[in-house]
């Protein structure tokens, strides 16, 4: 009898060990990759419109999930434009008018610098496990990488995208592809990681493409030129006064 119980226990352990991680666990690993206490990054945004392509460079400082500051470095027309996010408030400074404008209401629906990202996207909580319930629905190979397919459903009211579908790299825990849906089920945005790189112990997207599927154009390419995690960021960076500096 004792031998039988031991055998059952051993079999149970083997089954548990061989099981795939839960959707929640995968999502938490994704969040771990993306979030840090703080980070500083320089990036390039290539906006591919219907008629022309524009390239913008920016430097960003991000503290936790509530504070973010971005300064555009080029082209000359956008140089000096700054964005500050503090909690659920967003301000933008334009050097040509020397004005600080609070982005709220219908203005949040506008695209950031003509890209496929809206200010609303910029305001979202980056910790997905805080706002979504995740369910593992399958697996698929994307560009030679095995991926988990996660179905994310908003766990509370007021989340911008009610449903997301995510293809998460089984080894690196990066979502190589993501689709964002409206409450009614209509696909609104698609996000694809084209290239990744390792920063310290974590994998991070190097080159990604955002596409507002309702808009024409090829989407917006976002390239991380350099990124540093857990750096010291002076507190004054996250103040309205720094917008005019």
């Amino acid at each position: 009898m004792k031998k039988l119980i031991l055998l059952i226990l051993l079999i149970s352990c083997a089954v548990v060990y061989g099981q795939e991680p839960s959707g929640r666990a995968i999502l938490e690993r994704v969040d771990e990759n993306y979030t840090a206490e703080n980070h500083r990054a320089t990036s390039t945004m290539v906006i591919k419109g219907r008629r022309a392509t524009r390239t913008l460079q920016a430097e960003s400082w991000i503290q936790g999930v509530d504070k973010a500051f971005t300064e555009y470095l080029s082209p000359a027309r956008e140089k000096g434009t700054k964005m500050l996010k503090l909690g659920d408030e967003l301000w933008i400074y334009s050097p040509s008018t020397d004005r600080i404008i609070k982005i709220a209401g219908h203005m949040l629906k506008r695209s950031v610098m003509g890209s496929d990202l809206s200010y609303e996207d910029y305001m979202e909580d980056p910790v997905l496990s805080n706002i979504y319930n995740a369910q593992l629905t399958g697996d698929e190979n994307i560009d030679g990488r095995d991926c988990y397919i996660l179905e994310l459903l908003a766990k509370k009211e007021g989340v911008a995208y009610y449903r997301r579908k995510m293809w998460v790299d089984m080894e690196r825990y990066l979502p190589l592809k993501e689709e964002l849906f409206a409450k009614g089920g209509k696909l609104l945005k698609r996000f694809v990681i084209k290239e990744v790189f390792k920063v310290g112990k974590r994998w991070y997207p190097k080159r990604m493409v955002f596409k507002d599927v309702l808009k024409s154009g090829e989407g917006t390419e976002f390239i991380i030129d350099s990124i540093e995690f857990d750096v010291e960021i002076p507190e004054y960076i996250f103040s309205k006064a720094s917008l005019r500096k």
């Binding site: 219908h106 911008a160 024409s216 154009g217």
Partner: protein, 390 residues
């Protein structure tokens, strides 16, 4: 009477000089009346169109609603109070829910206002009945300006994206079921009209509204809890102020016209007094007082104004009548002014407008005619008889 006869004879005697003055002055009369008639027509027509299609007998606004502050739209909605529900049931009021949304005409994202209205309402002139038809997508009614700017036509489909009451994105396909030919820009540009019940369902705002428009037959409305009543006078303030400012800017033209006419009359009077020194001396010698002579000359000057009324009437009345009958084609660019304008504008004239213009011009002519004649009071009759002027 004698002075009148004398004045008329002298004016006739001056020949071409008189008729030139009269022509310029008559032009001032006709242009002022015609131009003011256009503004009055604009105001009348604009007010009527706004009342018919937008404001009816007045509107209840949710306490947070401010049409000039798009930031207020997200918070400006609330349940319809019982007092107003009874008005709605009696078909004396109609609720409208206003939300912000985005559409994607020709692959571009465009922010619009989604306005929910009851398809069966008869309070506003909006052809909302077309929203009541069964369609395979959300029925959408737009104005002709919106249709032009987005290249949308009846039967076209468009994707509408919005946030519900909690802030979650949702999107649906809409179908253009009608393009309304309204003259009121503020219910046309950047707006999609959809069935109220559908919009309430889409946004999770059951039985809620942003504004409630009351019928023109309902009088004496007062504020109801969170809903502030805005009467017609308040709601027409913008159009009134816009027309007033246009009248003021147009008055520069009148001042220039009148100035030219007055300059001519002033010169004529100065020349006339200089040339007729002996006549002035004779009239005084024959027993006329200086005041009577001044009156005679002033009357002569002022008679330009009277003659100008006659001449102006000869060509002005047919001209003005013609335009008030067939109207004037309004250039497309004026649609950008932001207030209701028909494709043809019909000037509107009133007795008060004509009399007012005549009074102002006559008073100005009389003053300008009088000013040079003050010199007569200083004349010595003996020297005037010799043709000298002291």
């Amino acid at each position: 009477m004698l002075a009148l006869k004398l004045a008329y004879r002298n004016l006739k005697g001056a020949g071409l000089r008189t008729w030139l003055n009269v022509a310029v002055l008559s032009l001032a009369y006709v242009l002022i009346i015609w131009h003011q008639g256009i503004f009055t027509g604009m105001l009348k027509h604009g007010s009527r169109a706004v009342i018919e299609d937008e404001i009816a007998g007045g509107q209840y606004w949710h306490k947070n609603y401010d049409p000039f502050d798009p930031l207020s739209y997200d918070e400006s909605h609330g349940p319809i109070p019982a007092e107003l529900s009874s008005l709605i049931e009696d078909k004396k009021a109609t609720p409208i829910l206003i939300r912000q949304a985005a559409i994607y005409p020709e692959g571009r994202v465009q922010t619009v206002l989604l306005k929910g209205i009851e398809p069966g309402q008869k309070i506003l002139g909006i052809p909302s009945a077309s929203l009541g038809k069964e369609e395979d997508a959300l029925p959408v009614l737009i104005g002709r300006r919106m249709a032009r700017s987005t290249s949308l036509d009846i039967g076209d489909y468009l994707t509408i994206r919005w946030r519900d009451v909690q802030g979650t994105f949702d999107a649906v396909e809409g179908k253009i079921v009608e393009i309304m030919n309204t003259e009121v820009v503020v219910i046309d540009k950047g707006q999609l009209w959809v069935p109220l019940a559908e919009l309430q369902k889409m946004t999770g705002m059951k039985d809620e509204a942003t504004i409630i428009v009351v019928s023109q037959n309902v009088q004496g409305q007062k504020d109801v809890s969170d809903w502030k009543f805005k009467d017609q006078k308040f709601l027409l303030t913008d159009i009134n102020q816009m027309v007033r400012s246009k009248r003021i800017s147009a008055s520069i033209l009148y001042v220039v016209l009148l100035f030219l006419a007055m300059l001519a009359i002033f010169d004529t009077q100065v020349l006339s007094i200089f040339k007729r020194r002996k006549e002035i001396g004779t009239l005084i010698a024959l027993g006329m007082t200086r005041r009577q002579v001044i009156s005679l000359f002033t009357l002569e000057g002022a008679m330009h104004g009277i003659l100008a009324i006659g001449i102006g009437a000869i060509y002005g009345i047919p001209w003005i009548t013609f335009y008030s009958k067939i109207g004037m084609k309004v250039p497309q660019a004026t649609e950008e002014y932001g207030f209701a304008l028909a494709e043809r504008l019909f000037p509107s004239y009133s007795v008060a407008l004509v009399l007012g213009t005549v009074l102002i011009v006559m008073a100005t002519v009389t003053i300008v005619s009088y000013l040079p004649t003050r010199k007569i009071s200083k004349m010595k009759p003996t020297e005037a008889l010799k043709g000298k002027i002291s």
